[in-house]
Subunit: 317 residues, 2 copies
């Protein structure tokens, strides 16, 4: 397979745009395939390289992902790294057989959420990661195996989550063959201290291997949590254009942390993103037009970058 | 005077609610005196203790502050610490003669902004702080003298601002008799690295004396910047209910960092606030009703605190 360090280099940050996946999970309207293609192309022009493009789910129940194979193909044509979610055995098979660059399985941090969300135990979800890795090895050696730990900072069903439990699950996923593990604040419970501490522990666990931090801005902590993650070794951050994507467990809440704001944050902290904010504005216009009535968030998009001042800090030493 | 350490204790954090001052600077509608009283009383019940309640400015040009003496009186009756802005000699005289607990003068970090905003040089603004301190000593020894450094993290007119220049001005204000100095990201240019570094330097400069950090959420960095400030010794944070308050130099921008979100942030970081979020919701309803058409922000207010989980972290060691 293409080496992980080429996809997610450890000496710089990678921002994964999850709008076309997590952002579309709950929407009433969604872009058609042409609009998704235009969205991807516009963001590619702005310098975005990593995308979650959908989920392998039954099109009857999740029509917004019915065109996932076409979107994956477009991402490939544009030379982008594409990722898609697989939540069961059938999804794993579809993912491995598809042209997607990365297949993502989810393991809940709590048994209660695992049963409620996926109707399987955590141990079973971990073994699905192993099944994905085995199938990848057998027939699609180029693909990245990604395991995301949902509810890693607190669970809307069972409350507090012990960091040691998250680390145990992360290690189990790596043992099963995951190339990269993500920590998700699925319901936006975390503050920066919790994120910093768990990221520091993950950095120790993962060594040279990158890990992903996936944040929701449900309680306004998203950017602060991303800063804490960057301060503590995270180099791959999920975000969605305009903060698209609510949360099934927190109705009415804001969604993923806002991609544009994370670009500004990262640059201000001395992590070059090579992403053009003006270009993101154009991509956002395409996305907004394709989803009338959906709420797009983000302060940077409204205010623009600072005038008369260098806001891209020098890279951190 | 009441000792500064009793007003802003160094062993805990103090959150200054600036909605009635900074929050009303640019609004088209504002609460009448009764609504301001109800707003103060509701926040007092929620546990808020520090308020900026207005500015000593000509009522003809700033009618929203025409009732400042009555609002100060209400704050006093409620046992609250009140602060108000004085931007010229006349304001200083009015402030010292009033019942306000704290008079705030502003010094711009850049000569260009000082001239544009106050029609005086920075040196002249610093000497106004000295004049305030002298008048306080002479006739109102109980009052706190506060000097705020505007544009401390970048200036919409002249661009980048050297941290050394901000520290020089802060020291000059202390030398002139200021009891406490604030650093303001007036136009929301800062990221958490810049805020953390300048706060750490201010903590060294101020020693045991507290200093204030005043943040705007113009580019979505407000909460992240507050976290960086707390991580680097700041113990007094300005915020406004619902993030009220735009910026005259950044039209359409979001305003001050959101008070409710800062309460959540602080608690999540182990800094007890003794502030009740449900109580803030009631205060916000009063404020919103009194200012129809004004935009109130904040994620915490919409989503509510986490369910089934302890979100107030144990106090930091």
């Amino acid at each position: 397979m293409k080496r992980l360090s080429q996809i997610y280099p450890s000496d710089r940050i990678s921002l994964r745009e999850v709008g076309l996946r997590d952002g579309l999970q709950l929407v009433r309207t969604w872009p058609d395939t042409e609009a998704k293609r235009a969205w991807l192309a516009a963001e590619a022009r702005a310098g975005v390289r990593h995308f979650e493009v959908g989920s392998f789910l039954p099109a009857a129940r999740f029509p917004q992902f019915g065109d996932i194979l076409e979107v994956i193909e477009t991402a490939g044509t544009l030379g982008l790294h594409s990722a898609a979610l697989a939540l069961n055995e059938r999804g794993v098979e579809e993912g491995v057989a598809s042209g997607v660059s990365e297949v993502v399985c989810v393991v809940s941090a709590t048994e209660e959420h695992s049963q409620a969300n996926m109707r399987r135990s955590r141990a079973n979800a971990v073994s699905l990661v192993g099944q994905l890795a085995a199938r990848r090895d057998a027939i699609a050696p180029d693909k990245v195996v990604n395991a995301g730990i949902a509810m890693a900072f607190g669970c809307s069903i069972s409350g507090a989550v012990a960091p040691a439990e998250v680390l145990r699950l992360a290690e189990a996923c790596l043992d099963e063959g995951a190339d990269i593990v993500g920590l998700a604040d699925t319901v936006g419970y975390a503050g920066p201290r919790a994120v910093g501490a768990l990221c520091a522990a993950m950095a120790r666990l993962c060594g040279d291997r990158p890990f992903i931090i996936h944040l929701h801005d449900t309680r306004g902590m998203g950017v602060a949590n991303a800063a804490a993650a960057l301060d503590n070794g995270a180099r791959v951050i999920d975000a969605s254009l305009g903060g698209l994507g609510g949360c099934p467990f927190a109705p009415g809440a804001t969604g993923n942390v806002v991609f544009e704001d994370i670009v500004f944050l990262a640059e201000s902290m001395g992590f070059p993103t090579c992403i053009d904010l003006e270009g993101l504005k154009k991509a956002r216009a395409i996305a907004e037009e394709s989803m009338p009535g959906e709420a797009f968030h983000g302060a940077l998009n409204r205010a623009g970058p600072p005038q008369n001042a260098a806001w891209r800090a020098k890279p951190a030493a």
